[in-house]
C-alpha cells in the first residue's frame, strides 16, 4: 500500500518506537514566541538542562506586542517583562530572535515561511495551535503545549502517537469573490469543529493546487479549527518557486537536491486515508460566521440555521443574533484585517483592490495589521498604503493584534467585528466582543459600506 504525504514525512523523522507506546519524533525546526516559552525555559533551568539544539530554534515577538509606536518602550509592564524575558532567554541560550522592530520581526507563522525557514518535508512545532499554517509547504507542522516546548528544548524530540489520516478534496472552479478563507470556512462549517480531532489533514484537488502559497497557508492555518492538529498540501512548483532564494532556503546544488527529494513527497496514488471528504468548488460562496466557534459559518447569502441545542442557543444569545436571520445589512463598527490567517501581502492586495477609490464608512474603525515587517514594507512599496490612507484605513505595525487582543487592540464590549482572523470565541477579541469571521474581501467591503453586504453583488 502506498504512503501519504504525511506518512512519508512522519516516517522519515521517527527516532525510535516504544513497544505498545508512542514514537519519538525528531523535530527539525522549533519556533518560539514570548507567551508560551518562558515557563519552558524556567523548567529547563530548574532541572539544570541546557537547550539541546539552539540553532534549530527561531524566535519572534508577536502575541503580546503593540501595533503602534514599536520604536518606543512597551507601556504595559507585564507585556514588557514578557518580551524582556524572551530576549534574555534567547541571548542566554544562543537562540536567534527577531525582536520587536527587527526587519524580520512578525507573526511567527508569517515570518518563518517568508524567511525560508519553512520548507517541504520538515517537522516543525511551535507553542501555538496555528502552527498548522506551515503544512502549506508539505511540512508536518503542529502546535504544542509549553511542557512539550520544554521537551523539544531538551531533546529536539517529542513523544507522540501517530495521528490518523484525513483527506479533504475540493475540485472545480471557485466562483468570483471566493477566497481561500471562504474555502476553509466552508469546509469547517460542513465538517464541524471536532471532525479532525485525532487526525492530520491533507488538502487535495485542483482548488488547492491552483492556490498561491499565501492562500494555502490560510487554509492550513485553520486546520486546528476543525480539531486537526495539522493540515498539509503536497509541495509542487508553486512551493519550490516560493521557497527558492529566501534567506534560509537551501542554495544552488543543495536546493536542486532538495527539490528532487521534495518531489517524492506527494501522496502515492494507492495510499488509503482513514477518512475522506470531497466538496465541489462551485458550491462555495463567500462565508461569514454567526456564532462563537468557527464551525458556525454560513454562506453570506444564507440565514442563520435553527438548532435547539442549548450550547447553540447560548452562542446565538452571546452574538445577539436570532435563528432565521440574515447577516446582510448588519451594521458593523469594527473591521480587522490581520492575524496569522490573513495578514500576508496577497490579503492586503485583495483589500486594496476593492478599497481603491472608495472611502471607509464613518461608523467603522478599520485596523489593518500586517503579519510582518516585510509585509509592512511591501504594502508601502506596492503603493497599497497610499490607497489605505486615502480611504481612511489605519495601517498599523505587525503583530497578532486584535486576533487575540492580548495587547491594546481590543474590540469593545457588545461590538461586532468583521475579522479575517481564525477564532470567533466569546471575548476572543476583547471582553464581550462579538466576532464575525470572513475573508479580507468581505472585511474590506464591510469597512467601506459600514455594514455586511453580499459581496458577490459588488463585483463585476
Amino acid at each position: 500500500m502506498g504512503k501519504t504525504l504525511f506518512d512519508k514525512v512522519w516516517d522519515a523523522h521517527v527516532v525510535d518506537t516504544i513497544e505498545n507506546g508512542p514514537q519519538i519524533l525528531y523535530i527539525d525546526k522549533h519556533l518560539i514566541h514570548e507567551v508560551t516559552s518562558p515557563q519552558a525555559f524556567n523548567e529547563l533551568e530548574e532541572r539544570g538542562i541546557s537547550v539541546f539544539r539552539p540553532n534549530q530554534i527561531v524566535a519572534t515577538a508577536d502575541h503580546n506586542t503593540p501595533t503602534l509606536n514599536q520604536n518606543q518602550p512597551v507601556k504595559d509592564a507585564l507585556s514588557r517583562q514578557q518580551l524582556e524575558q524572551l530576549s534574555k532567554n534567547c541571548k542566554k541560550n544562543d537562540i536567534t530572535l527577531y525582536e520587536l522592530g527587527h526587519k524580520y520581526n512578525g507573526i511567527v507563522h508569517v515570518m518563518a515561511p517568508e524567511l525560508g525557514v519553512t520548507q517541504p518535508g520538515l517537522t516543525m512545532v511551535c507553542g501555538d495551535s496555528h502552527t498548522s499554517t506551515h503544512g502549506a509547504f508539505g511540512a508536518i507542522a503542529f502546535g504544542i503545549g509549553t511542557s512539550q516546548v520544554a521537551q523539544v528544548f531538551a531533546s529536539q524530540c517529542l513523544l507522540l502517537t501517530k495521528p490518523k489520516s484525513l483527506r479533504v478534496s475540493v475540485n472545480g472552479k471557485l466562483k468570483k469573490g471566493v477566497l481561500p478563507k471562504d474555502v476553509i470556512l466552508y469546509i469547517i462549517s460542513k465538517l464541524g469543529t471536532n471532525s479532525g480531532t485525532g487526525y492530520f489533514c491533507e488538502y487535495a484537488g485542483n482548488v488547492f493546487e491552483e492556490m498561491s502559497m499565501e492562500g494555502r497557508m490560510t487554509v492550513c492555518n485553520m486546520s486546528i479549527e476543525m480539531g486537526a492538529r495539522g493540515g498539509m498540501i503536497a509541495p509542487d512548483e508553486t512551493t519550490f518557486n516560493y521557497v527558492e532564494g529566501r534567506e534560509f532556503a537551501p542554495k544552488g546544488k543543495d536546493f536542486d537536491a532538495k527539490v528532487a527529494y521534495w518531489k517524492t513527497l506527494p501522496t502515492d496514488d494507492d495510499a488509503v486515508f482513514d477518512k475522506e471528504y470531497t466538496f465541489d468548488a462551485e458550491d462555495i460562496e463567500p462565508m461569514v460566521t454567526y456564532g462563537t466557534n468557527p464551525g458556525m459559518g454560513i454562506k453570506i447569502s444564507e440565514t442563520i440555521p435553527k438548532d435547539d441545542n442549548p450550547s447553540f442557543k447560548k452562542s446565538l444569545a452571546y452574538m445577539d443574533f436570532e435563528a432565521g436571520e440574515s447577516l446582510i445589512n448588519k451594521p458593523i463598527n469594527y473591521v480587522f484585517i490581520g492575524s496569522c490567517t490573513n495578514s500576508r501581502i496577497e490579503d492586503f492586495r485583495v483589500a486594496a483592490e476593492f478599497i481603491k477609490g472608495k472611502q471607509k464608512a464613518k461608523n467603522v474603525t478599520a485596523w489593518l495589521v500586517p503579519g510582518s515587517k516585510q509585509v509592512e514594507a511591501q504594502i508601502v512599496d506596492e503603493g497599497l498604503k497610499t490607497i489605505f490612507d486615502a480611504a481612511g484605513f489605519e495601517l498599523r505595525q505587525p503583530g497578532c493584534s486584535a486576533c487575540l487582543a492580548m495587547n491594546d487592540d481590543k474590540i469593545p464590549q457588545n461590538e461586532y467585528c468583521v475579522s479575517t482572523s481564525n477564532r470567533n470565541f466569546e471575548g476572543r477579541q476583547g471582553q464581550g466582543s462579538r466576532t464575525i469571521l470572513a475573508s479580507p474581501l468581505v472585511a474590506a467591503a464591510t469597512a467601506v459600506e459600514g455594514k455586511i453586504v453580499d459581496i458577490t453583488k459588488h463585483l463585476n
Binding site: 525528531y26 514578557q82 509549553t146 531538551a154 529536539q156 480531532t197 492580548m406 477564532r423
Partner: protein, 229 residues
C-alpha cells in the same frame, strides 16, 4: 515496569538519578509538577456547556505571566465574574451547592489554542480530573503533562452524570486510573475509559516525557548523524 521505562528516570524534587529507586521515590515523593494519580474520590462540579474553548478557560489577557502559578484565580474568568468584577452568581463555579476536584464538562472540551495555561488554570483551581465526552487533542496532551486526568466517557454516560450531580450535588464520583473506570459512589452507574498505556504509567508514577527523552539522547544523536549523511 513497562519496557519503555528502562534507562534513567529523574526525580526533580530529589534531584537524583537512580533507575532502581525510581519506583520507591515515586511512591513517597510528590514530583514537581507531575503528582501521582491512582484513585480519586470526590464530589464534582457540572459545567454543562459544549465546545468550551481555551479562551473561556483562561482569556488571553491573563497570559502575560512568565511562571505557571496563580492562573486558577482567572479560570473561566469571564463566566465567573461580571464585567464590573462582581461575582456572577449564575455560574456553576460560584454555586455553593457544588464543590470537588472533578469538573464534568460538555462535549469537545478544550478546543482552540495550545495554551497550556488552560491546564495550569484548571489544576491551580484545584481540579484533578476533567470528564467530557470529547477532548481537543492539544488540551488533552497538556492536561496529561500536568497531572490532570482527562476522562473521556460516552455521551449517554456524561448526560447521566450531569443529571446525577445536578439533582444530588453531594454525589461522589470515583475515578480509578489503574482499572480505568469512573463510577458514581453508591449507585449503579459506572463506565470504563481509555487512556494511552504510556501516559497511564506516567500519571500513576508521576513520570514525565522529558525524563524519558533525556534517557534517549544517544539514539537521538545517532538519528541526527544518519540524517545528515
Amino acid at each position: 515496569m513497562p519496557s519503555f521505562w528502562e534507562g534513567v528516570c529523574y526525580n526533580r524534587k530529589m534531584g537524583k538519578e537512580h533507575p532502581a529507586l525510581v519506583g520507591i521515590i515515586a511512591t513517597f515523593v510528590d514530583i514537581y509538577n507531575m503528582e501521582k494519580f491512582t484513585t480519586l474520590k470526590s464530589k464534582a462540579i457540572p459545567l454543562d456547556i459544549e465546545n468550551v474553548d481555551t479562551d473561556q478557560i483562561i482569556p488571553a489577557r491573563f497570559l502575560k505571566a512568565t511562571d505557571r502559578k496563580g492562573f486558577g484565580d482567572n479560570l473561566f474568568r469571564d463566566w465567573r465574574y461580571n464585567k464590573d468584577g462582581s461575582v456572577n452568581p449564575d455560574f456553576v463555579l460560584n454555586d455553593a451547592r457544588y464543590s470537588g476536584k472533578i469538573l464534568v464538562a460538555g462535549d469537545n472540551f478544550g478546543c482552540g489554542s495550545s495554551r497550556e495555561h488552560a491546564a495550569w488554570a484548571i489544576t491551580d483551581f484545584g481540579f484533578k480530573v476533567v470528564v467530557s465526552s470529547f477532548f481537543a487533542d492539544i488540551f488533552k496532551g497538556n492536561a496529561l503533562n500536568n497531572g490532570l486526568l482527562p476522562v473521556q466517557v460516552s455521551k449517554a454516560f456524561l448526560s447521566d452524570l450531569q443529571s446525577c450531580i445536578v439533582s444530588h450535588p453531594e454525589t461522589e464520583l470515583i475515578v480509578d486510573l489503574e482499572n480505568q473506570t469512573i463510577s458514581v459512589k453508591d449507585a449503579d452507574l459506572s463506565e470504563d475509559f481509555e487512556i494511552d498505556a504510556y501516559k497511564k504509567t506516567c500519571m500513576i508514577n508521576g513520570y514525565d516525557d522529558i525524563d524519558y527523552l533525556l534517557s534517549k539522547k544517544e539514539k537521538i544523536e545517532a538519528f541526527e548523524n544518519a540524517a545528515s549523511n
